[in-house]
Amino acid sequence: DQQVKQNSPSLSVQEGRISILNCDYTNSMFDYFLWYKKYPAEGPTFLISISSIKDKNEDGRFTVFLNKSAKHLSLHIVPSQPGDSAVYFCAASANDGNKLVFGAGTILRVKS
């Protein structure tokens, strides 16, 4: 099941610079997209979301962009901080429901 793909297993960024995490999806029924952050031995923590009626949503240092025609979304973190180092998961859901379909995750390392 590869409906949500995060093709970069890891990303390393210098503190203060921009981090860009990417996610692609194949199911055109997806209409709600979320990013979660996860530390080892903890549950996923919600970061930011976007519905398919928008192409951008911003919350502080975090911005999510959605390109429906390309079935692609990205998470921008500006400026990146060492505390942002974690695994970032992209997730999607369809038709007002229920289940989230997750990508494999991208490990972000922010170097100070």
Binding site: L34, Y36, A41, E42, G43, P44, F46, G97
Partner: protein, 114 residues
């Protein structure tokens, strides 16, 4: 800030034994979920629960699994006869309402089947 809690944090069991994983969702949330993550793999949906009944379940959620809301606060996942391949992190999540609302996850229960 309200949060989802899960107990136990770690459960070790013998193959073939029954386990019950417990969750307390955020109090005013109406939708409840179980997910699991096998080591090195994706987070996978197991089951969703609304209005005191299962609303959707995955192919993984076969007859050995059950989910219940036995009272007004707890949400449980029972695995009747555990297998080695059930070893995973199990996450509970809850959501306040339908539509475009995020799910909030608990810290997880690590299940180890020997």
């Amino acid at each position: 800030e309200p949060e989802v809690t899960q107990t136990p944090s770690h459960q070790v069991t013998q193959m073939g034994q029954e386990v019950i994983l417990r969750c307390v969702p955020i109090s005013n949330h109406l939708y409840f979920y179980w997910y699991r993550q096998i080591l090195g793999q994706k987070v996978e949906f197991l089951v969703s629960f609304y209005n005191n009944e299962i609303s959707e379940k995955s192919e993984i959620f076969d007859d050995q699994f059950s989910a219940e809301r036995p009272d007004g606060s707890n949400f449980t996942l029972k695995i009747r006869s555990t297998k080695l391949e059930d070893s995973a992190m199990y996450f509970c999540a809850s959501r306040i309402a339908g539509g475009f609302n995020e799910q909030f996850f608990g810290p997880g229960t690590r299940l180890t089947v020997l």
